[in-house]
């Protein structure tokens, strides 16, 4: 069943046409990966889905409903969470305050909080610390924890491995696999090994257009296609 459908989405930023024709479907459950070279339009695609930039009319449907003209806050309330490339944690707020802000009523669900502690033990350890004092990996954990502190149908995650140490990337991959069992993840990633490990379905974007869609297993097996679309050498 399709959870998110992006159909011929076009987005302009100022006078620049960044997305020309973005079309793909994200099925419910698991991790869907959007791959592409630098500047291909991956981040713009996520931000357009989230309503942070305005996509063309009638181009984004979530659970069958057109969300392309909605305000970002209304899209968030429909059950879509966003983890931006810069993580978007509030440095002046404590870990606890960052998470409280992401809850609907200002209170934690004990079960979900316990799950977050299990996924990211560092957050419990630094619970009362201000977020600016966390390491890059811990900030990324906080950003992801904020996205799952409430039940969400879809989480948009933009390049979560950027600048992280390999050990943190491994921990992050484990966490995403576990989160993907109950929540759909749309992941934008440049680290192909990380993406290959997580993704079930995938799409490749180039110059603002989707140029390939399929299963990750199929794409991972086709080195010629990887070379052609992502300039990855075997």
């Amino acid at each position: 069943m399709t959870l998110l459908s992006v159909n011929q989405m076009k987005t302009s930023i100022g006078q620049y046409h960044v997305l020309h024709d973005v079309t793909f479907d994200v099925p419910e459950g698991g991790v869907f990966v959007l791959l592409g070279r630098n500047g291909a339009g991956k981040t713009t695609t996520l931000r357009s889905i989230m309503g942070l930039w305005t996509p063309s009319a009638n181009s984004v449907h979530f659970k069958g409903e057109d969300i392309s003209g909605l305000h970002a806050s209304d899209i968030a309330r429909k059950g879509i969470a966003f983890v931006p490339e810069n993580m978007g944690v509030f440095g002046g707020l404590t870990v606890e305050e960052n998470l409280v802000l992401a809850t609907a009523k200002g209170k934690f669900d004990a079960t979900r909080l316990k799950r977050i502690y299990q996924l990211f033990p560092a957050l419990e350890q630094f619970w009362t610390k201000q977020a600016w004092s966390l390491s890059g990996g811990q900030k990324q954990m906080l950003a992801v924890a904020r996205a799952i502190i409430e039940p969400r149908a879809l989480i948009l995650i933009d390049e979560p491995t950027k600048g992280l140490a390999p050990s943190i990337i491994d921990a992050m991959a484990e966490a995403f696999l576990e989160i993907g069992e109950t929540t759909t993840i749309l992941l934008v990633e440049q680290n192909f090994n990380f993406a290959k490990r997580l993704g079930r379905d995938m799409a490749v974007i180039d110059d603002g257009r989707i140029v390939h869609t399929g299963t990750m297993a199929g794409f991972a097996a086709d080195t010629a296609l990887q070379e052609q679309l992502l300039s990855l050498s075997a």
């Binding site: 989230m50 806050s73 002046g92 707020l93 904020r146």
Partner: protein, 330 residues
């Protein structure tokens, strides 16, 4: 140097700055009674400037709006309060402290109510169309300031207006050789009460959490499901109301006000917001107290430098901490 900085942070960091300035002034002034009088005057002045500046700091930090019209709220607060006090002059002169208190409460409430309503109008009609455009913000808010000054001239005239004070706030307390003006003590207590209220709202409530988060990253607050534009209106209204309250208190402090009052205070208010750090209530308080203390100490020690003291203070602090003493965003 790093070790010195860490040691300073352990003992209070930048919060020690006013204490350090006061200690240096104590040595330079020499006479303890003069020092206490100047310190109380500086703290009272600082608290009134804090009221005027705190709203601007939040508006600047949260909304990224350069509101040069902020001083209009200061002026209107001063004139509305002065008119209300003049209307209740019978109560002000009464020996009954209850009537005195009621008069000042109603006068300050009138200034606050005006600030709330005018703040709403200003945000919705003037500021909203120019979000994200600093040049237009400067032009339109400067224009609104000029219109506001003309309205004050039309309503109250160009002559200075004498502001009456309630009888219980007239005079001074004497402690040995030390003189403490009652109005200054009142201004300090009221300013402190407003600071505590603001602090509690910002640190202990969900709205406060949203404001602090919004100062750092507006977009992310929206991506978490909150309409930050609605928060903008509320913050703008409260900021304008605080400016009007600060103007009302300043009018009682000066006892003679002119339509140029807001414009004169605006320079000081901007200096306080810049040296305190954008969007930070603690920083604004710290900056305001520093400006208040320095103005009084330098006015006593080197009167010829008094006018330049604020600028020199701002230069020194920005050279040391380019983002201000206690910026909201690290």
């Amino acid at each position: 140097m790093n070790q010195l900085s860490q040691t300073l942070e352990r003992f209070g960091g930048v919060y020690l700055l006013p204490v350090f300035v006061a200690l240096v002034a104590f040595v330079l002034i020499g006479a303890p009674s003069s020092w206490v009088t100047l310190t109380v005057a500086g703290l009272a002045m600082g608290m009134m400037i804090f009221l005027m500046a705190s709203g601007l700091s939040l508006i600047f930090g949260l909304m990224d709006v350069l509101n040069f019209g902020h001083s209009a709220f200061i002026s209107f607060g001063a004139f509305i309060s002065a008119s209300a006090l003049a209307y209740m002059s019978g109560w002000l002169g009464s020996a009954h402290i209850g009537l005195n208190l009621l008069a000042i409460f109603l006068a300050f409430s009138a200034a606050l109510a005006f600030g709330l309503v005018a703040g709403w109008f200003f945000e919705v009609v003037i500021i909203k169309p120019v979000y994200h455009d600093h040049l237009r913000q400067i032009l339109i808010t400067m224009g609104a300031l000029i219109v506001s000054e003309q309205i004050i001239l039309a309503v109250w005239g160009g002559s200075p207006i004498t502001v009456q004070r309630p009888a219980f706030l007239e005079g001074s307390w004497l402690f040995g050789n030390v003189t403490v003006e009652i109005y200054r003590a009142f201004a300090f207590v009221l300013g402190l009460a407003v600071y505590i209220a603001l602090f509690l709202v910002l640190k202990r409530t969900r709205i406060g959490l949203l404001i602090r988060a919004g100062v750092e990253n507006r977009e992310m607050v929206e991506a978490l499901g909150f309409r930050i534009d609605r928060l903008f209106v509320g913050v703008f209204m409260v900021g304008s109301a605080l400016a009007a309250l600060g103007g009302a208190m300043w009018a009682g402090y000066e006892t003679l006000i002119t339509p140029a009052l807001g414009g004169e205070m605006m320079i000081v208010v901007f200096i306080v917001v810049i040296i305190g750090g954008l969007g930070s209530v603690e920083g604004t308080l710290l900056g305001a107290i520093m400006v208040g203390l320095m103005a009084n100490y330098i006015g006593f020690l080197a009167p010829k430098l008094a006018l330049a003291s604020n600028m020199l203070l701002m230069m020194a602090i920005l050279l040391w901490r380019p983002s201000g003493l206690k910026p909201a965003v690290k």
